[in-house]
């Protein structure tokens, strides 16, 4: 048993280091200056590491405003997504009506036309709804994400129906069952979805591109894109800015990761 764990641990370390190497290289490169970045033969670690690029990045953009805008969009969208996805996923999993099966296929279909392709019609819809140039335009169209619904649905299918039946016999209505019984059980799934949603919205650039046109509403991703010009890319600033924008999402992941570790559903079934 112990040797199994040791092998397990060793492989884990090997793979995680392998996986993170490109990101590590990215972060390390952000401390290099413009000449060293392109020198050949290559260096892994910077010869004169400095925070210069970070200083430039911070003063280049209105970082505080953009972060506030992005945070606003991300947090609110995540909360709404969690609510919508768990409700819809629960219904799709636990009720047997034909229209639900049809709805499932319909929702799945929404993932098959990527936003790039329906960008102009989506823009028209946003405008007609009066949402143009508002941060809400980056929130509302994104909260119906199918991946969220799918995730919650497959989780709820694994919950035994006996639990629901027992509650119904006790006289609870469906809403009560959902809020008091189902939600507490799916904490780790909600944590996972929360991590995903946070990441999607934080890194989203399509909706902000379509729906925002004033600089005071721009998000971090829009600002980052301005570093890639028609002929030139400001590599040093781009690397530093990318690392900076990665940090909040990483923090959220670390915090929520603990939620995933602890829950075990079987505790609900026994007895």
């Amino acid at each position: 048993m112990k040797s199994n764990n040791k092998l397990n641990g060793f492989l884990g370390i090997l793979f995680s280091l392998l996986w993170v190497f490109p990101v590590f290289w990215l972060v390390v490169s952000s401390f290099k200056n413009g000449t060293e970045l392109f020198s050949y033969p290559m260096t892994l670690f910077p010869n004169n590491p400095s925070f210069d690029n970070y200083v430039v990045a911070l003063f280049r953009f209105d970082f505080i405003r953009y972060t506030a805008n992005t945070a606003f969009i991300t947090i609110i969208a995540t909360v709404i997504t969690l609510i919508m996805s768990s409700m819809c996923g629960f219904a799709l999993a636990k009720y047997k009506y034909i229209w639900l099966k049809v709805l499932f296929i319909c929702l799945l279909a929404t993932t098959m036309l990527p936003t790039e392709v329906i960008m102009r019609p989506s823009f028209t819809v946003i405008y007609k709804l009066g949402l143009y140039n508002s941060l809400w335009a980056c929130i509302i169209p994104t909260v119906g994400t199918m991946t969220g619904v799918f995730l919650m649905r497959q989780f709820f299918t694994s919950i035994p129906n006996e639990l629901l039946e027992a509650a119904r016999i006790d006289g609870a209505n469906e809403g009560r069952i959902f809020v008091s019984l189902m939600l507490p059980l799916c904490k780790s799934q909600l944590a996972i979805l929360g991590i995903f949603s946070f990441r999607w919205r934080w890194n989203d650039f399509i909706w902000p591109l379509i729906s925002l046109r004033s600089p005071d509403k721009y998000t971090l991703q829009i600002a980052l894109r301005t570093l890639s010009g028609a002929e030139a890319v400001d590599w040093t600033t781009l690397l530093a800015a990318s690392v900076l924008t990665m940090i909040p999402v990483l923090i959220v992941f670390i915090l929520f990761n603990r939620q995933i570790m602890s829950t075990n559903v079987s505790s609900g079934v026994k007895g």
Partner: protein, 413 residues
């Protein structure tokens, strides 16, 4: 932990609501013009400096910059055009796509004859060329010096393309350079080389005839493809997988075929070897392709008079010269001089003065097909050829077919 999260949540939401509220409540009493642009900060903030100058010396209206990514310009403009919320002013690389929305500038003191590039459509001055860029060459001076090879900086010294190949082969042999030349992944650079072999896209005697299919074009294409086959230039850069500018900065390449826009970057970021602009080779013609941005105003924004006033003020010699100096741009208005902080701009001026008229002619034909575009067809065809999918004749067919498919009223010569 939950409490920490809840606190964090409240903080962020209230902060962002505050941030949003603050921006809405600051009402502007003075009219503010929006100028939509890209790449200004990347190129040294020249427009920002000019806008600051206007704002500090004028009170009747203010100007504000809205800077977005180059790749997003078209999407933004097209979306805003469809809902009639266009910005007052724009600086960007295209004007003909938006021809229907441009504000004619004829009632101000600016005239087409003031400018180096053609901005007149249907007899009306619809835009102004805010700068000119020219394709040219940069050499690795340290390598050339080490190999004892000289490079041309005067018209008499100009290489032929065959002499060029000899020169860079010598440099590669005698130094630790690995490649003779890298060429940007761009139809404009490829075209420049082909023009130097006598290529024509459209017939100078009849703009509706496509003259691309010719022995000169074929010779140029075969020469270009040969450079990749013989590994004088790395195919990965030719295909755009590796970036020419980044590759040149490693110091392992003798020559970079690019344009004057790299001068800022190279001045700031190349410290491990010496570099210098040099005159481009020729086969039958000397040629360079002009590029550059346009500055224009949109109609229907409610700020038309103010926009025209700003544009007129912008092109006053003292202001325009300041703009070109700050951004290290080649002036597009005749008779304006700029003082540059980077060396080598004079080489590009020489190229501009020496070029044949064919590149500009082809450009003007392109401009006369608003709303129609063959995209990057030439570059795509050359990509396929470098990858081995096409030969020179195949490239010619691919490109001419693309033009025929996308343009109306054109035919083969």
């Amino acid at each position: 932990m939950k409490k920490v999260l809840a606190l964090l949540l409240c903080l962020m939401v209230s902060f962002s609501v505050f941030a949003n509220g603050a921006s809405e409540s600051s009402k502007k009493e003075v009219k503010t013009l929006e100028i939509l642009l890209s790449d200004d900060t990347l190129e040294g903030g020249a427009m920002a400096a000019i806008v600051d100058k206007w704002n500090s010396t004028n009170d009747n209206f203010k100007v504000e910059i809205n800077e977005i990514a180059y790749g997003d310009m078209k999407t933004q403009i097209m979306n805003r055009a469809s809902v009639n919320e266009l910005p007052a002013l724009v600086k960007t690389t295209e004007m003909d796509a938006y021809a229907d929305f441009l504000l004619p500038l004829d009632d101000k003191s600016l005239k087409q004859s003031d400018f180096l590039r053609d901005v007149t459509r249907d007899g009306k001055l619809l835009a102004t060329p805010i700068n000119s860029t020219a394709v040219g060459m940069l050499v690795n001076k340290s390598a050339f010096d080490q190999a004892g090879v000289s490079y041309p900086t005067t018209e008499e010294e100009r290489w032929t393309w065959d002499e060029f190949i000899e020169a860079v082969n010598t440099v590669v042999e005698k130094t630790d350079c690995e490649y003779g030349i890298v060429i940007d992944h761009s139809a404009q650079r490829i075209s420049t080389l082909l023009y130097q072999f006598g290529m024509q896209i459209f017939d100078p005697n009849d703009a509706s005839k496509i003259a691309f299919d010719s022995p000169q074009t074929k010779e140029g294409l075969e020469f270009l493809l040969d450079i990749y086959k013989k590994d004088i230039s790395p195919a990965s850069v030719g295909l755009g997988a590796e970036n020419a500018q980044s590759t040149y900065k490693t110091g392992k390449v003798a020559v970079h075929m690019s344009g004057n826009w790299v001068l800022n970057d190279y001045s700031n970021n190349i410290t491990n070897f010496e570099w210098d602009p040099a005159l481009m080779p020729y086969k039958t013609d000397k040629a360079t392709c002009l590029g550059g941005n346009y500055l224009y105003a949109f109609d229907g924004t409610g700020c038309e008079e103010e926009a025209k006033e700003f544009i007129e003020w912008f092109y006053k010699d003292e202001n325009y010269s300041l703009y070109c100096s700050n951004g290290n741009y080649l002036p597009s208005k005749i008779g304006v001089d700029a003082t540059y902080t980077v060396k080598g701009m004079d080489i590009f001026n020489m190229e501009l003065n020496a070029t044949s008229a064919q590149p500009s002619f082809d450009d003007s034909v392109k401009n006369s097909h608003p709303g129609e575009s063959y995209g990057n067809a030439l570059r795509d065809a050359v990509d396929k050829a470098i990858a081995g999918e096409l030969d020179a004749d195949g490239v010619i067919d691919y490109f001419t077919n693309s033009i025929l498919e996308n343009y109306t009223n054109v035919s083969l010569k």
